[in-house]
């Protein structure tokens, strides 16, 4: 058994929240550079250049890359040989979010109830997904998930007969309907299989894979490549001003499913793809 104190968890989450909002990960910066080579649209290239400047300015001035500093979605892998001391894990994470957002000049975007819509003032609570895993470490992945693109995320229960072609068509439809509203170039996180909620959860988790890396499953990798290619033929382009770079990636995670079902959830992510992780 290894003890991890909640204060270490709070400190880690605080740091992750701030860094995620100021500094895009290198995989995103590489994606901008790759797109600048292939993009035919002058307006599209200009948008990509401005986004690169934006990333640089955000880091140097410690000002958020996007004013929508997101809903904190947190995936925790808790080693089952870890003993969390000093309080509750969930409270420690939310305290980290609170400190990170208030001390980091990040926007408070969460309302306490979907109906009365009073802002909580410190961007808490986070959405927390917990997995119990082997080992004695605690892995925390956080994503600052923007609202504009999240609003374009969708779910559909396909029939098994619709098969892989149905899955491709649905992901493309989601990217197309998200279009300029969701700040393209987009990334589609896709969960296929499981149940209603499992597919949705996987669609978020899928976004943590490094952009530009292949899917370890050859069949799924081919599917991702085909859908990405077709998405980039839609013509939507950076910001929807027309162009070849509508999406940077399609990331799919799968899970076994029921004989009656083919659930497909698509989380739409914008180019402000802010994700960081820490291992304690």
């Amino acid at each position: 058994m290894r003890d991890i104190h909640t204060s270490a968890i709070t400190d880690a989450v605080k740091k992750l929240c701030m860094e995620a909002n100021y500094a895009l990960e290198p995989d995103m910066l590489r994606a901008f550079d790759r797109a600048l080579v292939t993009e035919r649209s002058a307006a599209g290239r200009q948008v990509l250049e401005i986004l690169k400047d934006n990333a640089q300015l955000a880091v140097s001035k410690k000002i958020p890359y996007c004013q929508d500093t997101g809903f904190v979605v947190c995936f925790v892998e808790l080693g089952q040989d870890v003993h969390v001391t000093g309080g509750l894990l969930v409270d420690a994470i939310n305290e980290g979010v609170r400190q990170g957002y208030t001390e980091g000049y990040l926007r408070a975007s969460i309302v306490r109830s979907p109906f009365d819509r009073v802002n909580t003032g410190d961007n808490t609570p986070a959405v927390i997904h917990l997995d119990l895993v082997e080992g004695a470490t605690l892995k925390i992945q956080i994503m600052a998930k923007g609202g504009g693109c999240e609003n374009r995320s969708k779910y559909k229960m396909l029939t098994p007969a619709e098969g892989i072609d149905g899955v491709k068509a649905w992901i493309l439809e989601c990217i197309k309907t998200a279009g300029p509203d969701a700040c393209p170039p987009l990334i589609a996180g896709v969960g296929v299989g499981g149940t209603f909620e499992q597919a949705a959860r996987l669609s978020k988790k899928a976004l943590f894979r490094e952009l530009g890396t292949p899917n370890p499953d050859a069949v799924v990798d081919a599917l991702e490549r085909e859908v990405l290619d077709r998405a980039n033929r839609l013509g939507i382009g950076p910001q929807g001003y027309g162009g070849d770079t509508t999406a940077f990636g399609v990331h799919i995670l799968t899970y076994p499913c029921h004989i009656t079902s083919l659930p497909v959830a698509v989380t739409i992510e914008c180019h402000a793809h802010r994700h960081k992780e820490a291992v304690l």
Partner: protein, 210 residues
């Protein structure tokens, strides 16, 4: 000539109809815009035009629009005079000490579709955000002579550099969603929907789709 100097000379009543005055072509082909705008200014703008806005913008998004609508319906005076003005759909992040504003990029315009036609009826000449507007709003923009500008979504850090002053003018309790009067200097944007039915998103997709 500094655009700010000319702004002080603006008097809507003396501006002749038919000639754009507060929209002028820059040497690099980018149009310089100084609100408040007239119908003639609006008519001179076409979807796809790149623009730089200098002067005043008002920020308002979901919650502020939710408060303005009942006032309009009741025939009451709004906390801002929207005639000739541009509303920027944004909720900035907090400013660090010594900074004018935090990150200040656009939010999705379609969430304001329900409210926009009534504001256009009152003389609002422009809205700025990102993403599609409804057919209803596009029709209202043609009817009332107004445009929808696109600012680059997710470029809030860069866009903050064009903001020179920020003050809250209404609904401070809404935090980031309060109505702010902001002053901008050469704020970059693009005309997405003009008052002639032009739509940059449709045109762009038609040109590059394959």
């Amino acid at each position: 000539m500094r655009i700010g100097t000319r702004r002080r000379c603006y008097d809507a009543s003396t501006i002749g109809a038919g000639q754009p005055v507060m929209v002028t072509p820059g040497a690099d082909g980018i149009k310089e815009i100084v609100p408040p705008l007239t119908d003639a200014d609006i008519e001179s703008l076409k979807a796809g035009d790149r623009v730089r806005i200098t002067g005043v913008l008002y920020t308002a998004r979901d919650a502020a629009h939710g408060r303005l609508l009942p006032l309009i319906d009741a025939g009451k005076t709004l906390p801002i005079d929207v005639r000739g003005q541009i509303i920027y759909y944004t909720g900035p992040s907090p400013a660090r000490p010594g900074e004018v504003v935090g990150s200040i990029g656009p939010t999705t315009g379609s969430r304001m579709d329900k409210f926009t036609p009534k504001l256009l009826e009152l003389g609002l000449k422009g809205t700025m955000g990102k993403g599609h507007r409804s057919e209803h709003v596009k029709q209202a923009m043609m009817r009332h002579k107004a445009v929808y500008f696109g600012a680059i979504g997710g470029a809030g850090a860069v866009l903050s550099r064009f903001v020179t002053k920020v003050e809250i003018v209404a609904y401070e309790d809404l935090g980031t969603e309060a109505i702010r009067r902001i002053e901008v200097e050469k704020f970059p944007a693009i005309v997405v929907n003009d008052c002639h039915g032009g739509d940059l998103y449709q045109e762009g997709m038609a040109e590059y789709g394959r």
